[in-house]
Homo-oligomer: 336 residues x 5
């Protein structure tokens, strides 16, 4: 287990938080061997790996904490589905953190793995993100729950931070859909269908990540590992219920989008109807008039009307008569 202890260590830079009731120390780790004494400590400690670049370090961690090869592979392979694996002396939780760099269309997923041991929690991030900053603050608070509870509660706070991110993404998507809804219903702004489509994609991606997260929380609730204490179960149940609610809301938003697309399509049809009506009204009024004018533009030698003194005015009365009849007809059809 410790067979790598003779090798030359690369200088590393990790923060290790040792904590317990009435105890808090922040240690700067530059050599993985410095971790070993904490394993025997009466206090709990949290080790956060800000990235997965240093394979040597990961191997040392694997050896120090006696992690299973499959567990380490799950941690390193960032294409895993969210899941929980219950091992004999530790629990591995693999989840996805979601964030959007610019806008919602560019939703990206980053894998976060959490290892819960008897007196330690290790978290592995793909890139050093600031999602756990709030937890660093809470851990320094002497009267906080984190200090009093075990490693299972600490892991819960990490998961809670990630699920909170899902909530805020859900809210962003919901807000964006409401804006689109207003724009489409008021018809004030010309919305592109691809904008609606992007929201649908975000929802799809959120569901793809949250669905297995919900499953893993359900498994965790029912797991009978000694590492999950009975009094922590209500907290795990709480985030489980949050994922259920997010899923339900996503489903509602998905249905909203379906309706939006329907309204969008109907608006196009209604507009086309209006265009057609305009054309039809103008054309059906003026085409017959133009015909009448054409008739009296003919050059036949014998056309009695042409010689009639009031022929021209009579023709105008025909023009007016046809126009008025047409307008009445369209009014009756309620075309305008």
């Amino acid at each position: 287990m410790m067979d790598s202890s003779q090798e030359v260590k690369h200088p590393i830079s990790l923060d290790l938080y040792s904590f317990g009731e009435g105890h808090f120390e922040k240690h700067h780790i530059t050599n993985s061997e410095q971790i070993i004494p904490f394993l025997e400590s009466e206090h709990k400690f949290w080790l956060n790996m800000p990235n997965l670049n240093n394979i040597d370090l990961l191997n040392e961690i694997k050896n120090i904490f006696d992690l299973h090869t499959m567990a380490m592979e799950d941690i390193i392979n960032t294409q895993e589905r969210p899941k929980v694996e219950i091992y004999d002396h530790f629990i591995l939780i693999v989840v996805k953190m979601l964030y959007s760099r610019n806008n919602l269309a560019d939703l990206e997923a980053e894998q976060v793995s959490i290892v819960i041991g008897k007196n330690y929690v290790i978290s592995f991030q793909e890139h050093a993100f600031d999602i756990f900053d709030g937890i660093r603050v809470r851990i320094e608070n002497p009267s906080g729950k984190i200090r009093k509870h075990g490693t299972d509660y600490f892991a819960y706070t990490l998961l809670d931070a990630i699920v909170d991110e899902y909530y805020s993404l859900l809210e962003k998507v919901t807000d964006k859909i409401e804006v689109l809804e207003d724009e489409i219903i008021s018809e004030e702004k010309r919305v592109k269908l691809s904008e609606i489509y992007n929201q649908r994609k975000s929802i799809q991606l959120l569901k793809k990540v949250i669905w297995p997260t919900r499953e893993l929380l359900s498994t965790l609730k029912k797991s009978e590992s000694f590492l999950i204490k009975r009094r922590t179960l209500p907290f795990i149940n709480d985030i489980y219920e949050q994922t259920v609610e997010i899923m339900e809301n996503l489903e509602m938003q998905r249905e909203s989008i379906t309706t939006l697309v329907e309204i969008y399509m109907t608006n196009i049809s209604l507009k086309q109807n209006e265009v057609m009506k305009t054309l039809t009204i103008i054309a059906t009024i003026f085409i017959p008039l133009t015909f009448v004018a054409g008739v009296y533009g003919m050059n036949f030698e014998y056309m009695p009307e042409l010689k009639w003194e009031y022929g021209y005015w009579f023709t105008w009365s025909i023009f007016l008569g046809i126009s008025i009849l047409m307008v009445i007809y369209f009014k009756r059809k309620r075309w305008f």
Copy 2:
């Protein structure tokens, strides 16, 4: 449990109903300590918290009734999903009351939490609403069932009042959809698609609230808590079946809306068809006639027809002939 007894109390104003067979008293509570003696009383009592604003009071209640921290958090956090939690000495039920301030499009949800204890029921409302007024009347009735049955039956009457509200909302939605249906099918009034859309949203919201309520009632039925007596089960089953029926009706209404949208779209298409037909009939009759008139409006020096005495009348016969043929053609195509 009683460690807050030395603090200075804020003046509060709560109604406590103490009741039992042949017994009914209404007490005005101004200090939470006044509640304590009732805990030892042989009678049951009901305490209604009209809002969640006074955090100190809520904490005192928590201590007096020895409520679990998680239970209190569920009561205070008004974003909870409807659920039931079975604790050792009490049951917590969290439900949602739905109401619409103006019209159905503005459906709002208010959380109502009910705590069932051995000889007490506490209800927590977000805002003081009048939904429990009917129960106040019934509790004063000496021969009513409420007096005879236990706290489980009393909690049932509270839940029943809330589920009755769902029913009346369902009826409102159903009525509105029927009105829309009549308007769309009769084509008398121009319905906006967004009106249909609003009904769909109301249905979605109702389903979102009623679905977990159904689940919690199912859980309550199967719970083997000593607080739920066997003879109360048929009553709980009754409201459970009501929620099932509401869900089924909502599903039917949702399908109706889908059909309405279809009819709506078809009506647009049919109207466009009619517009196109009008244009086509007028245009295909007069465009050829105008052409013929144009021909005899040409200024060629050598055009024999122009000199013919009956040329003009012959041209009119061509006009009539073309028109009649076209009308026959359209009649055959059943275009009018």
Copy 3:
């Protein structure tokens, strides 16, 4: 149980059929007390309540047969979902009879409740309908199965009569849909979308009633009440399977309707296409010709063609040429 015996009885008019192997008597009941002796009889008897108007009578029935309060409420409240409730000494079955006064669009539901006791069956109808006439005939037949079997078999015959009604309604809906299908596909008659919509509503209503009926039959099959004898189970299973088949057929009809609506919409599109083609053909042929005629109707002093002897005939050849080219073009496009 008999505590209402001292009250003044209202004159009532009920038929009580006492029957058994080799025994049949029809009694006219004018006072509910007349029923009591039959309870001790060795023969079975059937009591049909033709309506639910006489609340006093219903209360007397409740007392005579010792029915549970909840059971009586289920019988009186005609808004119940179909269900079965197994009590200690009787079984309550609540079902819906469906009928259409005029046409299928006005499908109405009437509640029928059946109470199965040791040696009696009571049926409660909302209105006196003739659905049980066939059973009156069969009960008078000395060699019929009804005489030989127990009350469970008799209740089965009542349920069977109701499910048979569902079948005939299914057939009516199926027939109507087939007629609509023929009309839509042959395009002979102009079908209104609302007619299709009415069928969909009938199917929805049938499903809403039959689905819980299926459930209750399934429960009845599995119930281990001493009132349901083993040899009656195949008969109950038989009507259970009938409800399954009706549900499947309803589902098929629902899909047919979806397809019909699709065909309907496509027909509208195809017709619009035809209208547009007619317009386009006429307009694209004559608009250029009218232009040419317009050119030679111009009054320029210097227009060499006008003086040309064959100018007029040459223009006609241009007219013909353009027309023929257009016709060829449209033929190639297979527009007619």
Copy 4:
């Protein structure tokens, strides 16, 4: 059981195949009593009833083989859903044979009932069809499996023959859909939507028949009747899996049809687009030109252009200019 032996027998004509290892005899039965000795034979026998017309004969069969009344009713009522019923001394399997007289649109279902006894198999057909001809050939083959295995294996071969028919129908439907697909995508032939609709109906009918068949095979697999030997289970499982596969393929074909309808609708839209473009191009080019020609056809006394020597040619250059600009505009819009 044998109480009908004194009655006068109608002359009947049935084939009874007695078979076993190294044994095969074909008997012609003209009186149902001739069947009785075979019941005590050490060999198995197969009796095929080619139709259900002779009710007397069916009653005799019922008595000879001691079949339950409900079983006989299931056999005679040809509207049954496919199902299996496990009785004490025999198993009844009711399935549907599907065949199409002319084309796929006229798919018809015929009920086939199979009774498996200790040493006999009876098959009941609605009409004498030739589906079991292949089995007659195989039974005569001395080294075939049929001779060696029990009555359960023989029943399997009958079911297998029926499921094979489903396969060939599935293939026909698949082929027809592929032809429709090619015709629709290539747009060579004008397909009627009702043709696609007919395929959908065939699929619906197939699913309606195969779904309960799958269920019954699943029940048969799990039944623990002494009549189904353990070594026959893999064979039953084999046809079970075939029905699963047919269902999956039907589902795929159903989805294909949905897509086909979509493509069909889109093609209509695309064609309409093309028609509209043609009209728009011609009309927007020539309508302005006609206007210009109309202007110079006016008869104002003072119109300077008319007297200009090059006025006519200048007008032509306007005509050409407008046309060219329009063509460039349409090219840019990629309308042709």
Copy 5:
């Protein structure tokens, strides 16, 4: 079992890989009897059948390894659904390899059967494909896991190679759909609906193959055969989870396609709208103008305007006025 040993053997050509910790031999088999000694070897061996053409050889294999008749039928019949069958002394796994010869539209399935025995793995391919080349390389690597683990692990590597193929197909489909998505949204290239349709078909085919593969892996996980060692389970679970993920991605792609079709249809509608607007703008501006020009082209003897000196210029101002009004109207309607 060995009763075919006296027959004349056909010259065959198979590679047999014998391997174990620190052991690797590649044998060329020309006679099936050469396989027999390996059955008693302490090492594991792998036999790959490159095709199913030689029925005699397959029968010899059947006898040598004592395979069940049904197992052999499953191997030979290449129309099987993917499945696993647990026999007493071996496990049969039937899966499908998917590949596309030219493009994704021509996705083909090839059956691969794997027999896992105590110390052997036999793989049967329909055609000699190169999917197992990577495994040949890994088996020659002395320090690889393959050498150390049992036959269950070896079978896993074969399955893994096949599931990897599914992944690469999923990626191809995903890429193609993204290209289509870009083309449709940017509207740069005219996409044919049949291209989208082909992708949907590929997804359907993939799902049809992967769905039962997932099932079989799930069965394999839960099987309690002595042939599947506990330490191999995590690996099997790993490919099981891969199939789950592929299914989820396929579902997402299927939804994407549905959305793409919607966007496609909307684009057609939008284009038609644009065409109609162009026609309407041109026609509604010039048709009234042409009418005015036609009026002054009439030949009435008494038309005062014609003699007015500024009549012509005044007419032009009418032309301009009408045009400007129309343009303002269209601008207001936001038609351009």
